[in-house]
Amino acid sequence: MDLALAPETLARWQFGITTVYHFLFVPLTISLAALVAGLQTAWVRTEKEKYLRATKFWGKLFLINIAMGVVTGIVQEFQFGMNWSDYSRFVGDVFGAPLAFEALIAFFFESTFIGLWIFGWDRLPKKIHLACIWMVSIGTLLSAYFILAANSWMQHPVGYRINGEKGRAELTDFWLVLTQNTTLNQVFHSFSAAFLTGGAFMVGIAAFHLMRKKHIPVMRTSLRLGLVTLAVGGLFTAISGDTLGKVMYEQQPMKMAAAEALWDGEEPAPFSVFAYGDVDKGHNEVALEIPGLLSFLAHSDFESYVPGINDTNEALQEKFGPGDYKPIVPVAYWGFRWMIGFGMASFSVGLLGLWLTRKKFFLPAAYRTGEDEVPHLVLLKKPLGSRLTRLYWLAAVWTTAFPLIANAWGWIFTEMGRQPWVVYGVMRTEDAVSPGVSQAEVITSMTVFTLLYAVLAVIEVRLLVKYVKAGPPELSDSDLNPPTKLGGDVRDADKPMAFSY
């Protein structure tokens, strides 16, 4: 069959499309849940109205986003069985358990407490209502943890044995699957990146309003929270990316060699800034490199030998038999760069913003601003001029979505960099597809999902824009007087609900 329409190719495209799409919503959900919970905690503790307005504003955007995350996640739970039935048969004994844990522990948590939070404003006492959003936040983190443990097992299978008689992998050590270094590093990296994403989202939207001098008290607070989240998230993303990279050099040398388009092993190995090469011949024609840096990324020193794509391919052929063990090198190479580039660009905007909007630290007293003023952007001793100020706000707005791009490329890189394996060293992707599912069926589902997702994307983004522009809502009496009893105070039996669909 024509390779472009082979069931394996189609199933991979569908998985890629639906998963990358799903993951646009996941990091925002994870970080916004925690940030909204933080803002609501500030409201409960200080009773300052700006925190409640911020909670409602960001909470609304969070809900628009999580709705999409939830529904696109349903597909993920069933897609393994639909398109990857041989994979499911082979690994279900190992891979199914974290998925079941995710559903039974995390999904129930998220879905139940989000319902309580959405509809609970006039039904739950303040502190219990607050506890609900924290439960949602814990649910999102647990959910991510279990699914990342499952993915890490595909990257670096541990805690299993092959049962030859049944022809499948069987779990022998679940604890190891949950705590192996691949899992822990991957979780650390994904969580940090999630907060980088949420931070950038908050900063971008706050900048949009501050540039127009609107909703200042709420947006000032949001800007600050967003910048700190962005900077801390960015820092941890970089640190965890470095440690995850080192783990990958050990566990999947091919992926990292491809990430660097390092065709032949070198000692010391350089970091490639730009490369253009001939994949068939296996070498680069143009290469701009920083000497020794790759050795450092792989082994923390500037001298070590780092094996290249060609060497690794030979080593894998010796181990697993004849075949091509190279991923698509340009995708790995550019995916790796776009992940780092877009992520770190956002991080820089955050760091710069944190410095420019500092409150007291090395800031001349004259430029300190009050609660209802847009903060001055002070580079050294004086505020930036109006053009530069505007430029920074614009940069913050325009980089809002940068981490989303970085996240997507990070996943494309790590998943495509693992090819031709679906479970590294254990099962090949071509052996994983459903043998009974026809080409027509996969084309149908891929087309339907792609079209539906495209339509929903338009709807979602337009809705987000509408609510972003509307700004924080005015507070009503019932907002400011939450009930004291569970189920709501019976003041007026016919009183409209605070929130209804």
Partner: protein, 334 residues
């Protein structure tokens, strides 16, 4: 009882929980066309399930995840074999979830109407398709020696399975109608009770034929008991509804669902997916299950987590126990 038998029961429990809970919210979705006379009443209906539909749906995800972990072969065969019907269900669930969350987010009438239409169809279609799917599971499908489904999508649309689909559709609608009578106040509550009688009678006829067919084809003593309970509780639910005992009517329609699902699983056991080509090729609790180690871990998970889930989900229903009428729906856009 071995662990894979325990897991057969637990998977049955998860599907039962799913049909009990999402059953009434599918039903309420269908009622937006069948019962609501105006937009305010539609909103009343949607808001009776507002805080809980998402949690209800997670029972499905858990059933899926648990099947993957406890019976990988079953999971693989079922979802690759029933590819197109499952795709249709997934599309419905995606649109439905978005519809609930986004409907009230814009004031335009067109926008809201479109989402209301979506809620109706995406509730009706899965309510029907799940019955078709379970009809086929119980009846058996064309599985080859590798447990691959070798039939076509048309084979799945056989009379028995289609009747199963009509049964779940009407039963869930009935369940949703008595739920509405229990959860609303005012005119809509009265009409829900009247409608429940009609829907209940249709359900009773269809369910009787379908379950009897099941019993004759593949039933045993235990399934006969479940059959009896299902029919009796459905009749009792109708009686309770006529007597104005709404709590009882809902409980009894729930018992009907529990007993009907139990009956299907009882006739299925020890198979999980029988092959109509050769009984040797049937997927059973033994040849489809995971290793004892995995099942043991999963059992610990179920023992610890399930009671907690029931506890906090139950608490949610208690928090939102108040009846809703048109007067409670603020005319606001959120």
């Amino acid at each position: 009882m071995e662990l894979h038998d325990v897991w057969f029961v637990l998977i049955a429990v998860l599907w039962t929980g799913y049909f009990f809970l999402e059953g009434f919210d599918f039903g309420v979705g269908v009622l937006t066309r069948l019962l609501a006379r105006n937009r305010a009443e539609k909103r009343v209906l949607i808001n009776t399930i507002g805080p809980v539909w998402d949690g209800n749906e997670v029972w499905l995800l858990t059933a899926g995840g648990a099947t993957f972990a406890a019976f990988p072969e079953w999971y693989a065969t079922l979802f690759s074999g029933f590819y197109l019907p499952l795709l249709a269900i997934l599309i419905c669930l995606i649109v439905r979830g978005v519809a609930f969350e986004y409907r009230a987010k814009r004031p335009e009438e067109n926008w809201q109407r479109n989402w209301e239409t979506a809620i109706f169809w995406t509730s009706l279609l899965p309510a029907f398709l799940w019955g078709v799917a379970f009809g086929n599971i119980v009846r058996g499908v064309r599985l080859d020696a590798d447990f691959e489904y070798v039939g076509t999508v048309w084979d799945l649309l056989n009379p028995y399975a289609l009747l199963g689909g009509l049964v779940t559709l009407t039963l869930f609608t009935f369940h949703g109608t008595v739920f509405t009578a229990l959860k609303t106040v005012g005119d809509i509550r009265e009409r829900a009770r009247k409608l429940a009688l009609k829907v209940g009678l249709v359900t009773a006829v269809l369910a009787l034929v379908f379950l009897l067919w099941t019993q004759v084809e593949s039933g045993d003593g235990a399934s006969l008991v479940a059959f009896g309970v299902a029919v009796a509780s459905l009749v009792a639910a109708l009686g309770a509804n006529q007597a104005g005992r709404e709590g009882w009517a809902f409980t009894l329609s729930g018992v009907t669902i529990v007993a009907a699902v139990a009956m299907l699983f009882l006739t299925l056991f020890p198979n999980v997916m029988p092959s109509t080509l050769d009984p040797e090729w049937s997927l059973t609790v033994t040849n489809a299950s995971s290793s004892p180690y995995t099942l043991k871990i999963m059992t610990w998970l179920a023992v610890v987590a399930t009671p907690l889930v029931l506890l906090y989900q139950g608490w949610t229903y208690w928090v939102f126990r108040k009846r809703i009428g048109t007067q409670h729906i603020a005319d606001l856009v959120h």
